[in-house]
Subunit: 156 residues, 2 copies
Amino acid sequence: MRSPAELTEMFRANGLKVTPQRQLIFRLMHGNEAHPTAEALFHSASELMPGISLRTVYQTLADLASMGELRSLDLGTGASRFDPNTDDHHHVVCEQCGDVRDVYVSGSDALRIEGLDGFAVDSTAILFNGVCPRCAAGSRRSTTNPPTNNAQGVMS
Amino acid sequence: MRSPAELTEMFRANGLKVTPQRQLIFRLMHGNEAHPTAEALFHSASELMPGISLRTVYQTLADLASMGELRSLDLGTGASRFDPNTDDHHHVVCEQCGDVRDVYVSGSDALRIEGLDGFAVDSTAILFNGVCPRCAAGSRRSTTNPPTNNAQGVMS
DNA sequence: TTGCTAATTCGCACAATGTGAAGATTGGGA
DNA sequence: TCCCAATCTTCACATTGTGCGAATTAGCAA
């Protein structure tokens, strides 16, 4: 995903308006590696801009996704997650705390694939499920770790 | 997934009752390659047993899944789909009609994977997205094909 | 700076997909 | 045949989104 400044320019160039709500979401998503849900993003946005609506968060995320600035992910964890990393990559999900990390896979051209009969494949997603190091460590005393506090994980 | 007769035996051996509703679902799922949703299964079950409840379908599918007799799949198509094929395999989904086929992938040990730092991975799912041959053929006149009639795809 | 207007935001209703609970029913062993 | 735990059905409710319309506002033009 581009920087907030670049997105501002892009939006205006496309006849879209740059509202404070959108700018906030640009900032919250830029460099965000937490793969937040709309709800999680709404939560952190609300702290900085009380009164912002969940509807607007959904709307802006959808706009960004349709412009190719971020990817909407269905990782089987219930809600969609949003990823500003638009590189070709995959994901690993912790079954216990729900944490998601980017995973880079190469050498997939060596795979032998059967059963694709006639399908014109245009995308492939690889999803790893497992237990993150932190939960593995914690499982000595409890089955489930509380989710990370910095779930919204702003990095910019 | 085992045969209806074997499942009957298994259920009884585990202190579970074998009701007509369960037997019907055993039959509808056995050999079913359509990857139906609970709703789709409920629809075909209702034709053979009017009055059966959606709740019972969900319940029985959950039972079978927890016994390892079928897999519950989240293919990003909205509802979960159920697959009696418990072999190690993956899936390809048609973006237009929603059809799902089993895909077998080998040679994945040659993949180079980065970013799994510390995660203990216990399952990997590969999901191919594309357009099925039928939709590709039909797209010359319409964008979307109606879903297959035999969506419940009973094979037994 | 002021106005105008289309774009946006917000709030609410509603759709889809499940799950929890409770009362009525029933499978299957004694 | 009886009995009771297991099951089925129904209904309420939770979660995750989307559609719509009234109120607000960004950003261009004068």
